[in-house]
């Protein structure tokens, strides 16, 4: 079973992701912000990472950069889940190393399609 890490400070969003992804047959591990995500990264491997951008402690950009510096996650797909619609922010996430993005609110079917697009 593929394992996905979701990093989001919003409980609603975390729960919705958990629900959608579990229903789609993924194993889901949740982190509540970038710092927590970093902690979880070290405990277990992931096939896909989904992260929010705006979070306390360590934001999504910082978290992605961290992942990309870590040899174990250099080539792990990272999707940015955010309501940000401005090109500039998406570009910043890409600069940090994001593989793709999902704009909230997400459609469950669309979400799983996008994960399929990036999950090895």
């Amino acid at each position: 079973m593929k394992r996905i890490l979701t990093v989001d400070d919003s409980r609603t969003m975390r729960d919705m992701l958990l629900h959608t992804l579990t229903a789609a047959g993924y194993e889901v591990v949740q982190a509540i912000d970038g710092e927590d995500g970093v902690r979880v990264l070290d405990e277990q491997g992931f096939d896909v990472i989904i992260t929010d951008i705006n979070m306390p402690k360590m934001d999504g950009y910082g978290f992605i950069e961290y992942c990309r510096r870590d040899d174990g996650y250099r080539s792990t797909p990272i999707l940015v889940l955010t309501t940000e619609t401005s090109r500039e922010k998406r570009e910043r996430a890409r600069e940090a190393g994001a593989t793709g993005w999902i704009v909230k609110p997400f459609d469950p079917q669309r979400l799983t399609e996008i994960i399929e697009r990036v999950a090895r």
Partner: protein, 777 residues
């Protein structure tokens, strides 16, 4: 969004937490004690509200929070400054956001245009203009008044109200967020068969960045293949000599031939993430050169796309793996300890090697491990919390209630035994009673919340009202850590808000008047909460002009609340301000007037099983006191006997008990028996008659009268056989288990196992009068 509706409750719960946090941060901001994190935190709160709102299709909330968020974003980026005027707009926007969230949650959306004025003010700030006046805005609207105003239910605001920025952003969100792409074959079959094969020729050459961002051509091909028949032809002409190969560079391109009825946008969508990291061209099949002709890699074009993907694409060596150690034997797969397979850059394009596997990772490097331990230790410093559903807690509360009843039952039985022979049993029972009490208190404390959540809203309410009525006010709050039942806290917010507004609007004088009265220009408003003997006492006091009983009486006479010949006591006069429709201020103020003042407060408090009273000294100020039960699950009741039955009257509603003297009771035609009490005429209700109890005492002179106060402040005398005592009773809902009975609020189980009804005084009065009127007719 089907299947996600169940997260609505989570969302609104989260919203209220976010909005509460936001409030605290906004206050910091307005008081100048903001840190660099403050704006960020406010931004994130609005952002999260918007995120969830979108998921549930709460478009109105999305629109408003989007505008709000935009301004906050600019503030945190430093392109807009949080000037005092701007902060004032933020505060009002936060109010509107609260209204919209509450409206969505409760299904009573605020009237259309509710947010317009504030949204305009936000947009003005975004545009870099000075804040526009927002006086017409509903930010200081009277919460309590909302209950009474004819609510308009209007659909979400019209699209033309949207500024183009928001509209564009929403359109974009729809593009990325809402449109599901059907992948089923039916769709393809349904399309009219074209003369020539429909499809596209796609030329795709990744750049190194594509791999750096962990995108993978193979997966894109797999997705394309779902759209139709795919042929993949690699182009390896750019591949340099072995010695010049850079493991992190990209050398290979592909020409893909896709026979499909899918629209171009579907193809573009597949390349959505990589379009800026590759050279990409998508041309219709008929106009493009045939892919076979452009395939010049010296490799055969495979007709079967499945094989093409598997055999031709996989060996491509552009995977941005860690630089390969050049000392390694070329052509040998290097398998790391964690099971990851690396493809040496020296592998030939034709070699078939497995894709890097996604095997679980082995434990991490020692330094990372250390970091983790540090963070965990830091997290452990705070008291660990656990989030538990309210229903679980309530179930425990209920069970504890049962134990309280059983314990009382046990105690009653044991007391029948001779104590000398059973001293051990008595001792054990005593112990059980103590433990039960402590268990009950502890369980109730789980439901308890500090008053802080209400208190922290006060500073800005005070500030806003004070600004509006041009008075100077200093707020003192005491006891914000006092814990009260969650339900009580929630339902206390409105009455308290109203009392605070009242105190500033009516109680405190303006600076001029205060100076003349020899007081400091700044008035003091003090709000306190404390626990006193199993009850919560909340006081709102001001050092203002006080309440003039003469004026109150005049007004009451004018309103017909008091007859011209009645001479009520000062205490009774003060009590009149809680009567419906009473207002001492001539001009109905837009803040606390409207004639829905203290009577609403009283009703709200009584619904919580509490009482409200006022004391005032002319020229010195007034104090409003609320007394509330710690919990709603247990209430103080007066046990009264009516014939063979026992009923319970809530202690909170009882004004006094008396045995009538000869001549106190008069029979009035059409009103039945009335009691004359210190010049006041009080209607009597005989419980025995109401409940049709044949053995109950009907002669009021042989009975006991409890004078109780109904919600509207009117008093009635309840005639009962005798008073059996006062005790805490566990409240059991009848409505939930049977159906609502007029005059009965709930039931409880007594120590002897009997069920006793807890009476609802207000309904009882209505019911009794109704029956009497019916009997007269």
């Amino acid at each position: 969004m089907s299947g996600l509706e169940e997260f609505r409750a989570t969302y609104f719960q989260e919203c209220s937490e976010l909005l509460e946090d936001m409030e605290t941060h906004l206050i910091d901001l307005s008081e100048g004690s903001a840190s660099s994190e403050t704006i960020n935190a406010i931004f994130r709160a609005v952002h999260s509200v918007k995120g969830g709102a979108g998921a549930f299709g709460l478009n109105r909330l999305v629109h408003f929070s989007h505008t709000f968020e935009n301004l906050l974003d600019m503030m945190r980026e430093g392109t807009r400054e949080a000037t005092p005027d701007a902060v004032s707009v933020l505060l009002k926007a936060s109010d509107v956001l609260n209204d919209l969230v509450a409206g969505s949650r409760d299904g009573h959306e605020p009237a259309a245009g509710h947010e317009d004025a504030i949204a305009k003010a936000l947009q003005a700030l975004i545009a870099g203009e000075a804040p526009v006046a927002t006086d017409a805005a509903p930010a200081v609207a009277d919460d309590l008044g909302e209950d009474f105003a004819d609510l308009e239910f209007t659909p979400a605001m019209a699209d033309e109200d949207l500024d183009s920025d928001v509209a564009a952003a929403l359109a974009e969100e729809e593009e990325f967020g809402f449109t599901p792409i059907a992948m089923d074959d039916d769709m393809l079959d349904d399309a009219a068969a074209p003369a020539a094969p429909a499809g596209f020729v796609i030329r795709f050459a990744p750049r190194a960045d594509l791999f750096r961002r962990a995108n993978e051509p193979l997966l894109l091909f797999r997705e394309l293949k779902r759209l139709g028949e795919l042929t993949v032809i690699p182009d390896v002409t750019a591949l340099p000599a072995l010695a010049e190969i850079d493991a992190e560079a990209a050398y290979i391109g592909w020409t893909l031939r896709l026979v499909t009825d899918a629209e171009r946008i579907r193809i573009e969508d597949v390349f959505d993430f990589v379009v800026d990291d590759c050279d990409l061209s998508i041309e219709p099949l008929d106009t493009a050169e045939l892919p076979e002709m452009s395939g010049n890699a010296g490799l055969p074009a495979l007709g079967e796309p499945e094989e093409a993907v598997a055999d031709v694409v996989e060996p491509v060596v552009t995977e941005p793996e860690p630089a390969v150690d050049c000392d390694e034997d070329p052509g040998v797969l290097h398998v790391e300890a964690d099971g990851k397979v690396e493809t040496p850059a020296t592998a030939t394009p034709a070699a078939i090697v497995p894709m890097p596997s996604a095997a679980p990772r082995a434990p991490q490097h020692a330094d990372a491990q250390d970091d983790r331990n540090t963070v965990v230790a830091g997290a452990a410093a705070a008291a660990p919390m656990i989030r538990v559903g309210l229903d679980k807690v309530d179930r425990v509360v209920n069970m504890v209630g049962e134990i309280v009843i059983i314990q009382a039952m046990l105690a009653e039985r044991v007391r029948e035994l001779p104590e000398g022979e059973h001293s051990g049993l008595f001792q054990g029972l005593e112990e059980l009673m103590n433990q039960t009490r402590s268990l009950q208190e502890n369980v109730m404390s789980i439901r308890a919340q500090p008053m802080r959540s209400i208190f922290q809203r006060l500073p800005r309410q005070v500030r806003e009202v004070a600004e509006r009525v041009e008075k100077k006010v200093r707020l003192e709050t005491v006891g914000e850590l006092t814990e009260v039942d969650k339900t009580v806290v929630e339902r206390l917010s409105d009455p308290l808000t109203h009392m605070v507004r009242n105190a500033i609007d009516h109680g405190l004088e303006g600076p001029e008047d205060r100076r003349k009265a020899g007081k400091s220009e700044t008035g003091t408003l003090r709000v306190s909460a404390e626990q006193k003997g199993g009850r919560i006492v909340i006081e709102v006091s001001d050092d203002g002009r006080g309440i003039d009983p003469v004026k109150v009486l005049d007004k009451a006479r004018e309103r017909g609340l008091v007859g011209p010949d009645d001479h009520p006591s000062d205490e009774e006069i003060m009590d009149m301000i809680f009567r419906p429709g009473f207002s001492t201020k001539e001009a109905v103020s837009d803040l606390s007037g409207r004639g829905v003042g203290m009577d609403v407060v009283r009703r709200n408090i009584q619904e919580l099983g509490g009482r409200v009273s006022v004391r005032s000294t002319l020229g010195r100020g007034s104090t409003f006191q609320l007394i509330l039960p710690l919990t709603l699950a247990v209430t103080d009741g007066m046990l009264v006997a009516v014939g063979s039955e026992t009923y319970i009257l809530p202690i909170a509603s009882i004004v006094e008990c008396l045995s009538p003297q000869q001549g106190d009771i008069t029979n009035l035609v059409g009103a039945g028996n009335v009691l004359r009490l210190r010049g006041e005429v009080i209607n009597l209700i005989n419980l025995g008659a109401v409940f049709n109890n044949p053995v109950a005492e009907r002669d009021p002179y042989k009975a006991v009268i409890l004078v109780v106060e109904a919600d509207d402040g009117s008093k009635v005398g309840v005639v009962v056989d005798e008073i059996k005592g006062e005790q805490q009773v566990v409240v059991k809902s009848i409505e939930k288990n049977y159906r609502a009975i007029p005059g009965v609020a709930a039931a409880t189980i007594l120590g002897n196992g009997d069920v006793a009804l807890i009476l609802d005084v207000t309904q009882l009065v209505e019911h009794a009068y109704g029956a009497r009127l019916a009997a007269c007719a």
